[in-house]
Symmetry: C2
Subunit: 312 residues, 2 copies
Amino acid sequence: MSDHIVFFSKSDIPQSWQTAFAKVRPGARFEVLSGAVTGPCDADFAVVWHPPHGELARMTKLKAIFSLGAGVDHVLGDPEFPSHVPLSRVVDPTLTAGMSEYVVLQVLALHRGLPGYIAAQRRGLWRPSAPKLARDVRVGIMGMGVLGRDAARKLAPFGYRLSGWSRSGFEEAGVECHRGADGLKAILRSTDILVCLLPLTAETRGILNRETLALLPAGAAILNAGRGAHIVDADLLAALDARHVSAAALDVFAEEPLPAPHRYWSHPGVIVTPHVASLTNADAVAARMSASMDRVNAGLPPFDLVDPARGY
Amino acid sequence: MSDHIVFFSKSDIPQSWQTAFAKVRPGARFEVLSGAVTGPCDADFAVVWHPPHGELARMTKLKAIFSLGAGVDHVLGDPEFPSHVPLSRVVDPTLTAGMSEYVVLQVLALHRGLPGYIAAQRRGLWRPSAPKLARDVRVGIMGMGVLGRDAARKLAPFGYRLSGWSRSGFEEAGVECHRGADGLKAILRSTDILVCLLPLTAETRGILNRETLALLPAGAAILNAGRGAHIVDADLLAALDARHVSAAALDVFAEEPLPAPHRYWSHPGVIVTPHVASLTNADAVAARMSASMDRVNAGLPPFDLVDPARGY
């Protein structure tokens, strides 16, 4: 176990990962990179979140790359991404549970009018309004992978009318299935609360734009816990200003941290959270990555292998 | 069905109730009272929310009184309340479901730090923080009647550690049972998120005060969807200011609407909602009340009968 692991993240705290790997892989050399390195690098494994472009290609002996999150757009967007190296992403029950907590929290918040009550509270206004019954609220989930299916299961006990959309279709009890381009139009036309949990790929970038938002029923609400780049921000802001979209709960943004002057911060219909829908639990994930490293050392693919062509 | 029904509410819209009763009890005379009446009144049934004191006593021919909500403190607090007349309260699946939506929404909000993110958003600050895992969060529910038990069942799938407290005890799978004065201390000492769904009685008035709040672990959060008078406001504000209580989601207040200068409106740790946790659905409830009126006319007690001595 004298593996050489390099670690790079622009948002995680290296210490907690160093500690976690020391427990599960005590023999490994754990090197924290703080920026672009110079010269070649003989690392066996790279554990990364938003590494500088070109950095992974310079590590010519890599046996596997591990994304520190469920999304892998941050590495596949690197023009020099070494696509012959197996890429693994986080598929962690803790991460899934955390995402479902966030989705249920914000679906309930949007259904029950919390953005309006927050805005009213700022102005000291007591303005009760009667909510719809859950059975009359149509929740549409874009992205029906592990996260989308678990969210649907956690939403079901409240009695919402659930539908889902994914590129290739899915089967999930109690959830109406939509797929492909026609299915996208169909789910948008019949959704009161739209939940985006899609992976970011060439096909899903900007998927929520002027044209697609216009298909939503008037007064629909948006929840984005996928990636900021799924939304064309100017188009969502225009739809919010026109009250066509009544409210939005946004956890992810094209640029993070969300820049100070951005209108999302101050829009009365928007709840901003700082990319906290689902945070990777270092101990649980380090254990899974270490098990994957054992597999790779034995000539097997790592767990939770990504298909770079598909993008997830 | 020539019953005479009088209706008084300081917050419900009479029109929707008039329409609802016209559907289920077309022969009845439906009289909307807008304030204190003078002289005797020959009504058979009174459907009320916060009627003026003394008003019900003046209706000497009343066969039953119907509270427009689950709580009956608004009538039992009347010194002239005619306690020989059967009193019925709203026990409605729609109301129960709505309350559980609100409880799960705010428990998730408190667990996931939403009050802090709302306060940060006002200031344009990006301040992510890692939440606890749900299995490490202890949720304690005060009041384990129909509402408390349903809320517990809706919270269970998230994996919270659940406990409950009621005067007389209860049995609910997966929920630790506390009862009586000693049980109150025990649940407060072991709760991270305290949910108040109690009825308001002489024994529960001011139950959350300096002494009881001090028993909570440091950093605990409060959710009140019971009655405003369950909380001694000055004591909760002091606990919030001292950060002993980290946050509070409050739907009910000693005075409603919450007066403009009240510190709850502006406190960064407080989410104020305008008594919307659970709103009575006129159609569903009018049908149930009408069925109760048939029972009373046949010499039977109404559904959902209250014990005035117990207070619920």
